[in-house]
């Protein structure tokens, strides 16, 4: 019997003019790994939601066609009942947590499945250990980095040993070691009979796992899209560029814990730097400190003109502009267009850069949509366009390729290249090596809160990224 069988399945979100899925025929045998690829907003996440019984149950709208997952009829099963056999990893790990503490959160799914009491905590610990997160036992989820949260979410879906696993961008926020470990683990699970469907833009990481790669384009199964074609790597920096940013022994402590240990670096104007390092190392904290959202305990941060210690975050814009991780949490406006243009309008800036960003990032069809109705990749593009609209001298991007399809990753690489040509600097925190190769003049490595730059970076690390 097939693990997944869909025939003529379609789905329309409430109020939507066109269906998000149509004519989906899909058969997946037990133990197979299927990867869904396609543009942002093409229907991959919606297809996973239908397979997981979450749409239309939680999203309203209308579904049609026939289907079963793990032998459960999708038309009659309640989501909670289907979840006894199916594990679902959400695209945003922040949305996955139900309990406040890591071990309890992993245990929650086992409790809901009615496991015997004495098996639950050992199994939850083992699942956390399997994703390299044993050390997070006792930690609050809201104090973890996004990557750490994604690992805990993975542990939570793996722990109950489901028959079918639905993963929405499982490696998007994982560092390379964790992604590699996960991929190996998924293969072992599949070899034991687990059926896995993965929606993923980073096929460079998981593509070799797949028994089948399917495209999902405009709500239909189609041929997978072509891989990202990045522009040529940036030309080397010309020496003697003045600095656009200088960090001098920046120390940052939070809740009595030292998050940054004396970070020092100089960023020349026109440079594009990739900020890399394992999950929870302090990359986001460093970017937030530069943007003025966190105050260093000691040390100095300067831009091209001044010491920024007395410059509040709002006044660092438009010179320095951060696109934070998970831009879905910072949506303020009722339309994507307002979200993109409002900041530049408030600062009295011309509309040209916003127009250009909308065109470059293919956002015109989305301008009237509510930003909360967009996919994660589309939201990311809206947030980047809002930052480009103020044409900052220093652009800070925190995991900008999360949820972004291949074509738009290549577009973003080209935009960073154009900023370099205009002598504007960019720092990008990312785990995406191909993106690093295409966009970075230099690496800054953050490991356990320590920033390593220039010649201090071991050759092996430099080669691994290059």
């Amino acid at each position: 019997m097939s693990a997944i069988a869909l025939a003529g399945v379609g789905y329309r979100y409430p109020g939507a003019a066109a269906p998000s899925l149509a004519d989906i025929d899909l058969v997946v045998d037990p133990g197979r790994i299927v990867i869904l690829e396609g543009p942002s907003g093409g229907g991959k996440t919606t297809l996973l939601r239908v397979l997981g019984g979450l749409a239309p149950a939680f999203h309203g709208g209308e579904a049609w066609g026939a289907g079963s997952v793990a032998g459960v009829d999708l038309r009659s099963a309640r989501p909670g009942a289907l979840a006894q056999r199916v594990g679902f990893l959400f695209q945003e790990p922040e949305a996955q947590g139900v309990m406040g503490e890591a071990l309890r959160d992993v245990a929650y799914g086992l409790q809901c499945r009615g496991w015997e009491q004495d098996r639950i905590l050992p199994a939850a610990r083992a699942a956390l250990a399997a994703v390299g997160c044993e050390h997070l036992v006792g930690r609050r989820l809201d104090a973890l980095s996004s990557g750490e949260r994604q690992r805990v979410a993975l542990a939570a879906v793996l722990a109950p040993e489901p028959d079918v696993l639905l993963l929405d961008e499982p490696t998007a926020q994982l560092d390379d070691d964790a992604a590699c470990e996960l991929v190996g683990q998924l293969r072992r699970f599949a070899d034991r009979g687990l059926t896995i469907v993965i929606s993923e833009h980073r096929t460079d990481r998981v593509g070799h796992l797949a028994d089948e790669v399917l495209g999902v384009v405009a709500g239909r199964i189609a041929a997978p899209p072509a891989a990202a074609v990045y522009p040529r790597p940036l030309p080397a920096l010309v020496g003697g560029e003045p600095p656009s940013l200088a960090l001098e022994d920046v120390v940052l402590e939070r809740d009595g814990r030292r998050v940054l240990h004396g970070a020092s670096a100089i960023l020349p104007a026109a440079a594009s730097v990739a900020l890399v390092g394992p999950n929870g190392a302090g990359k986001s904290t460093l970017l937030r400190a530069i943007a003025g959202l966190e105050t260093p305990t000691a040390g100095v941060i300067r831009d091209a003109r001044r010491d920024l210690a007395r410059v509040p975050a709002a006044q660092r814009v438009p010179g320095i502009r951060l696109v934070p991780q998970d831009p879905g949490r910072t949506l303020l406006e009722a339309t994507a267009e307002a979200e993109i243009r409002r900041g530049a309008e408030r600062l009295g800036m011309p509309a040209g850069p916003a127009d250009r960003a909308i065109e470059d990032l293919s956002l015109a069809p989305l301008l009237d949509r509510h930003p909360r109705d967009l996919s994660v990749g589309e939201r990311e593009r809206v947030a980047i366009a809002a930052a480009l609209a103020v044409d900052p001298a220093l652009l800070l991007l925190d995991e900008p390729t999360r949820g972004m399809d291949a074509a738009h990753r290549a577009t973003l690489a080209r935009i960073i290249g154009e900023r370099h040509a205009r002598r504007l600097a960019t720092i990008t925190a990312t785990h995406d090596r191909a993106f690093v190769r295409a966009t970075a003049h230099a690496l800054w490595i953050v490991d356990a809160g320590r920033l390593v730059t220039g010649d201090a970076i071991p050759d092996a690390v430099r080669e691994a990224v290059r």
């Binding site: 997981g52 019984g53 979450l54 939680f58 309640r78 989501p79 909670g80 009942a81 289907l82 979840a83 006894q84 679902f88 959400f90 949305a95 996955q96 139900v98 309990m99 406040g100 309890r104 245990a107 929650y108 799914g109 086992l110 409790q111 809901c112 499945r113 009615g114 496991w115 015997e116 009491q117 639950i120 905590l121 809201d142 939570a156 109950p160 003025g292 959202l293 509040p312 975050a313 709002a314 006044q315 814009v317 438009p318 502009r321 951060l322 934070p324 949490r329 910072t330 949506l331 303020l332 406006e333 009722a334 409002r342 900041g343 408030r346 600062l347 909360r372 809002a386 930052a387 103020v390």
Partner: protein, 279 residues
């Protein structure tokens, strides 16, 4: 964050005492104890205390114009169908007592949520009323989630180069601008948690509770203090320390009422210390 049973017993006890008597000294004591308890919680306190004070003052101000009672007239005035412009000392006193009760309920509930581990609270409710687990999961996380969302949205404004300006009016304008996105994100979060629970299997099979750590000594002490307060509330309902506001208020404080009030405040102090040390 602690076992929720201790904070629950103390907070229920304080609310029960404030509802069980009209004696102003005792109601004020219950409010004082609730505030002390809340101040011992490791959260920002300003918003809840301002909300409690504003709600209490509103009742104090409204009652003289809605009630038509009391012998000691302070401000004479005509009465209409729904509005009585005559103000008596008893109406003010009753408004004060009602306001303090409402404030006690707000502050004690906030103290309970701030002092309790939401995971253990959810587990406790799942044992007693499994169908209410979703409601508890949502409400236990509502205040911290709202605080986090508000902080994220404020950062979003800063990243757009808007700092809201200085002064109360600018702050009020900024707060107003955040209301709509905050409501939208809260609704999103509510659906998100419900969806995540369903995706994890909630409602699909009988729920297995986790073995809970036994209550600690401080937890036992907090429960005992809460039970003592509930005992006091039962005695007050049964007629101990009778007090009448209308038609003419009894003397505000008798030695017995002051002693009982001091005891309630003392319980609040001990409970606050106990629960702080239990974290």
């Amino acid at each position: 964050m602690t076992d929720p049973r201790g904070p629950l017993a103390v907070c229920v006890g304080l609310i029960a005492v404030s509802l069980a008597t009209d004696q102003p000294a005792l109601v004020a004591a219950a409010l004082t104890a609730a505030v002390l308890l809340y101040l011992s919680a490791p959260v920002a306190h300003g918003l809840v205390l301002r909300l409690a004070a504003a709600s209490g003052l509103l009742l104090l101000v409204l009652n003289p114009f809605l009630a038509v009672a009391g012998d000691r007239v302070l401000i004479p005035g005509p009465g209409f169908t729904l509005l009585d412009l005559e103000v008596t000392a008893e109406e003010l006193l009753w408004g004060a007592v009602s306001g303090m009760r409402l404030a006690t309920a707000i502050v004690a509930t906030s103290a309970f949520l701030a002092l309790s581990d939401p995971d253990r609270l959810q587990a406790l409710v799942a044992r007693i009323a499994p169908r209410s687990a979703l409601t508890v999961a949502l409400s236990a996380r509502l205040v911290p989630a709202l605080r986090r969302d508000a902080s994220d949205l404020r950062e979003a404004l800063l990243l757009r180069g808007t700092d809201g300006g200085r002064g109360r009016r600018a702050h009020a304008r900024q707060a107003a601008a955040l209301v709509e996105p905050l409501v939208a994100s809260s609704l999103d979060r509510g659906v998100g948690i419900a969806e995540a629970m369903a995706a994890r299997g909630y409602g699909g099979a009988p729920f297995t509770p986790l073995p809970e750590d036994p209550a600690t000594r401080s937890g036992h002490l907090a429960i005992a203090l809460g039970l003592a307060l509930i005992g006091l509330a039962v005695a007050l309902v049964a007629g101990a320390l009778p007090y009448a506001v209308y038609p003419q208020a009894d003397p505000l404080a008798t030695p017995l009422a002051l002693t009982a009030g001091a005891a309630v405040v003392g319980v609040g102090v001990i409970a606050a210390r106990t629960l702080r040390s239990a974290r």
